[in-house]
């Protein structure tokens, strides 16, 4: 397993945000995480990526224990996350944003530049290469967030709702990009609110509810799960049609 969480728990004062969560992501696997608001999805990302220290449990990445390590050390191991509330380097250009990501692996600016250029091309950001991050509309900011994370050349990419707030064209492009990355061998853990988007994309889906893993399995099976349907308050839908 590339990533393996064993009964990970995270508490904020009296609130238990994550309780005994087990989770695995294999090499080149695409796993979706769904759950209602406040289910603990983003907290889970923060714990995995080293932004929060878990109160219990173990997190192994590529066979190495990473729980409690600082975020930058985990990123260097090849585990990179994006932020739901995107954080572009506002006054820096798109190219510089992506280059700073590329410098995670590349030792010099000269070597980071072509890597960044290629990723910008791939993420269809080339027309905005020299625009400052803060000038981009939300759809492009989401794409920049992904591009910058990709530039770190991760082995596992954690995407936090990169498809929310996109228009239909942008959504299709983002889906194509994610599929392409997966086809190229990357492992992905994807949080998404929009069920119709995440279900057909994922090989396996994990449902979080009140900080606990409610269900796990192939999308079609999870969608039929009674507990999942209840958790979403009858928000029933057929995956097959999506």
């Amino acid at each position: 397993m590339l990533l393996e969480l064993t009964s990970v728990t995270k508490r904020f004062g009296g609130l238990t945000a994550l309780r005994d969560v087990d989770l695995q992501v294999g090499e080149n696997e695409l796993v979706g995480i769904i759950g209602p608001n406040g289910a603990g999805k983003t907290t889970l990302f923060n714990v995995i990526a080293g932004f929060y220290r878990p109160d219990g449990g173990a997190i192994r990445f590529d066979g190495r224990e990473i729980a409690g390590q600082p975020a930058h050390a985990i990123a260097r191991l090849g585990l990179c996350r994006t932020f739901q509330l995107v954080k572009p380097f506002g006054s820096l250009s798109v190219l510089q944003n992506v280059m700073i990501g590329a410098l995670n692996r590349e030792r010099s600016v000269e070597r980071a530049r072509p890597v960044a250029e290629e990723i910008i091309e791939r993420c269809r950001l080339a027309p905005f290469r020299d625009a400052p991050g803060q000038s981009l509309p939300i759809g492009l900011r989401k794409r920049l967030e992904v591009a910058r994370a990709l530039a770190t050349q991760p082995r596992l990419l954690l995407l936090d709702e990169v498809m929310s707030g996109l228009n239909p064209t942008e959504l299709r492009e983002m889906l194509d990009l994610i599929r392409q990355l997966h086809a190229d061998g990357l492992a992905l853990l994807v949080i998404e609110h929009i069920m119709a988007v995440i279900m057909p994309l994922s090989q396996r889906v994990i449902v979080l509810h009140h900080g606990e893993k409610l269900a796990e399995g192939p999308p079609a099976a999870v969608a039929r799960d009674r507990r999942v349907i209840d958790a979403y308050l009858g928000e029933e839908f057929a995956v097959a049609e999506a």
């Binding site: 006054s91 250009s93 010099s108 994370a149």
Partner: protein, 354 residues
């Protein structure tokens, strides 16, 4: 012209030329200053020049932390004073050469910089500035009270022993060369910060620490290093300044006014730019000389006029050229055909000019 030459030379050469081209204001400023003693004999004018270069270098040193790392310090006089006192104290007690005192002061300042950088790592925004103000105030009190070492509030006149070995010169000419050298050094640090891996990553930390962490950047380490480098440079310049002026007064070298001055010159000239601090220093120093000439000898109430003028100047800059003179001028020169340059600042400017 440069385009013509560039097309003649190989691609690699033209890239080199383009890079140098971006630095032409610095080449003009520092080159002109280095040539000045050849043509100018007037020691008053040379004095103005030396001070412009020293203040510019000091503002540039502040810029490493306050500009490039986004760690706005309002207590940089602490590091300046350490450098100045290192020279003064060792000279009167042990007759040391300032060359020996310089690394002592710089080491002390670097240590203090590392310490405050480390301790205030969790502090952001105004809290870091407050911590640095407190630091300078503490050192002011120590320097004023530790009479056996510092002679207290009356200050220390540095014994004048001219000669290169003592870092003291009887004529202005060598001072100009030394000041140019230091200015180029500080400018070089800025160029490094605009074009190196460290500099790019530091820009990321300045913009958003969490995003930087997610990209594998140890943001705390980078900030502490930037603060320490800034303190180191400021202290060295403090030593040189003390040797140049010849008198160290705790109420001046550790003053809040001085800390404000470093920040103000940088902000007016262009924060996080290489040439900005020097433009700011040029403007402020000329203004100071003018005000001194105009208001000296007047009633005591007028001596504070510079504060009023600083205030007005800052308001004008923040209102009309919020990113500083350097950025504004760069945009004017590039016009609408802005072409991205090879550095964060350059590209940033270009992007905005589009």
């Amino acid at each position: 012209m440069s385009r013509l030459i560039g097309s003649v030379l190989s691609t690699q050469h033209s890239v080199l030329l383009a890079r140098l081209g971006r630095h032409w204001p610095a080449v003009v400023l520092f080159g002109g200053a280095a040539l000045a003693p050849t043509f100018v004999r007037d020691s008053y004018l040379l004095d103005v020049l030396v001070l412009i270069l020293l203040w510019g270098a000091l503002a540039g040193a502040w810029n490493v932390a306050g500009g490039y790392a986004g760690q706005v310090s309002l207590g940089h006089s602490a590091f300046f004073g350490l450098g100045a006192y290192a020279a003064a104290v060792t000279a009167i007690h042990w007759e040391w050469s300032a060359w020996l005192a310089m690394p002592i002061g710089a080491a002390l300042a670097t240590l203090v910089g590392l310490l405050i950088g480390y301790l205030s790592n969790r502090l952001r925004g105004p809290y870091f500035a407050l911590a640095t103000i407190a630091l300078a105030e503490v050192l002011l009190i120590v320097a004023s009270r530790w009479r056996e070492l510092t002679r207290g509030g009356e200050g220390i006149p540095i014994p004048f022993r001219p000669g290169f070995e003592n870092l003291a010169f009887a004529t202005k000419q060598p001072w100009v060369y030394l000041a140019v050298l230091l200015a180029v050094l500080v400018y070089g640090v800025a160029v490094y910060l605009e074009s190196s891996r460290f500099g790019y990553q530091l820009a990321g930390v300045r913009e958003d620490e969490n995003a930087a962490e997610a990209l594998g950047i140890d943001s705390r380490r980078l900030k502490v290093i930037a603060i320490a480098v800034s303190a180191f440079l400021t202290s060295i310049l403090g030593t040189v300044w003390a040797q140049y002026v010849g008198f160290v007064d705790p109420n001046y070298v550790f003053s809040f006014d001085l800390s404000i001055k470093f920040a103000l010159m940088t902000i007016i000239g262009g924060i996080a730019t290489g040439i900005g601090p020097f433009l700011g220093a040029l403007l402020i120093t000329l203004l100071e000389f003018y005000l001194r000439a105009t208001f000296s000898g007047g009633p005591a109430g007028q001596s504070g006029i510079y504060l009023v003028i600083y205030g007005v100047l800052l308001m004008v800059v923040v209102r009309f050229v919020p990113r500083g003179l350097a950025v504004e001028l760069a945009q004017r020169f590039r016009g609408r055909r802005a072409r991205p340059a090879a550095t964060p600042e350059g590209e940033q400017v270009a992007a905005r000019a589009d």
